[in-house]
Symmetry: C2
Subunit: 280 residues, 2 copies
């Protein structure tokens, strides 16, 4: 049994491309529709109400392609708006929270799990809630890292980058007393500065396992599609179509950092044409 429909992936902007990179690797036969809401990025600094409204529009756009499942490759939306998306659409929706939390429980030995994410994700408490639903044994601490997205979006990602290291140290130092042995990167921008985070963590806390939430979500969607007989024919060579809500040129310029390859097939859409008006 195969299913030829594409997988939908969306994010507030560029970050979700780090999950697309993993998807392309582990599911090379799948067609993917990616939407980056670059006209309204960032989401992580906004209120739950606005985040939910934007996410419903994004989902509405992806559903116009008849997608078979949607990967919410945005930590903020996954934390804040996943229930709203599931209630409003019949398509299966997978976020990054559950996948990353499950993995964190697997790898943590001292049962202390930390989260680095946007302020909206940390405030929302979705990770904490999901971790405690797995087991009451896990202690949890979230740290909002509001400067990471602008740093990554402006290219401050080299390991030698002094300013990024300073912000890393500021955020990681908040975890010193808690002393976790596992840190979830709860925003899909953060894998791009993973090495800086690792090095800062090693110095300030000691060795920790880093869980990339976007990567875990990609692995989970593979498992889900496989279990449901929803994978595409393995002979098919998957194709990715990219859509954004602002200028395609600057998206193409930055996308290669996240994807590890250059892209040109990006289409600009008007997201206000897909404004969600309630379940049909």
């Amino acid at each position: 049994m195969t299913n030829k429909k594409p997988i939908g992936v969306f994010d507030s902007g560029l970050g979700g491309l780090s999950a697309v990179r993993v998807l392309k690797k582990i599911l090379p036969e799948e067609d993917i529709i990616y939407f980056g809401d670059t006209g309204r990025v960032p989401y992580g600094t906004r209120s739950p109400e606005i985040i939910t409204r934007y996410a419903l529009d994004d989902m509405n756009f992806l559903c116009s392609f008849g997608v078979k499942a949607v990967l919410v490759a945005c930590g903020t939306v996954s934390s804040v708006a996943l229930d709203a998306l599931r209630e409003s659409f019949d398509v299966p929706v997978m976020g990054v929270v559950e996948a990353a939390a499950k993995k964190a429980c697997e790898v943590s030995q001292n049962k202390k799990v930390a989260l680095l994410a946007t302020n909206a994700t940390v405030k929302n408490g979705a990770y904490e809630k999901y971790l405690s639903s797995i087991s009451s044994e896990y202690a949890f601490m979230g740290v909002g890292c509001p400067m990471f997205v602008p740093l990554v979006e402006n290219g401050y990602i080299e390991n030698s980058c002094k300013v990024t290291r300073l912000f890393c140290d500021e955020y990681i130092s908040k975890l010193c007393d808690f002393c976790p042995d596992c840190i979830i990167l709860g925003c899909t921008h953060y894998p791009l500065i993973k090495d800086i985070i690792k090095s800062s963590t090693k110095e300030l806390i000691g060795p920790v396992s880093i869980v990339d939430s976007g990567e875990q979500a990609a692995l989970e969607i593979k498992e889900f599609l496989s279990a449901g007989g929803l994978l595409n024919d393995t002979c098919h060579k998957g194709n990715v179509q990219y859509f954004v809500s602002d200028d395609t040129f600057s998206f193409c310029q930055s996308a290669s950092v996240f994807l590890g390859e250059h892209i040109t097939n990006v289409t600009k859409i008007d997201i206000s044409d897909y404004s969600y008006k309630g379940k049909k």
Copy 2:
């Protein structure tokens, strides 16, 4: 002759409040309607097309109050979308570019004027164009400072702030060869880190005059209203009403830094209700 109508002021978010602060001081008798598009901030990283569309909506909202004039307290919109706003609405519109460029010409002795602003403002070339329309004698150099808005919005504004100083030094060092004696702060967020910019400039270039574009625009709107007999009765105690497109709580929390006073009278609106559909 007096005119009791309010003055409209808008910005992508918080920055424009630094211009409101000046307006309140120099025109205490005026009522002001402020709109901060916090649901779609920032503008400075977006394309001219999106910036223009958002600005038309913002203007449309202010015009629903029957404002007598609008101050565009956003460097990005002033640079990119002023002509579109003037073509689309009959209300007088004043931006920060012309006022700041005029002042820069007054204070510069060596005829070398620099601009610190968002990438969109620098790319657009509005300052350069306006300066050369005043005189061909002025040399100009613009430097995009994309990290300043997130730094200010996240509170990294203390003079002792190491990271802000590092970014300042990075941006200012690009001006070393040009060696201006006047620097325009082309984004209304930047006055909050004026002292850090001054100190970095002094060390890397020498003493320079700093022109605050929001302040200059506020002075110009006073002049305009006065010349047209459009000022309010001097006996009237002006009132400011604040509107935003996202959560009011976080806006109130941050607003005091820009305004120098605490505010509570903030109303959330749905900016998509004011989507501009063409001149009526």
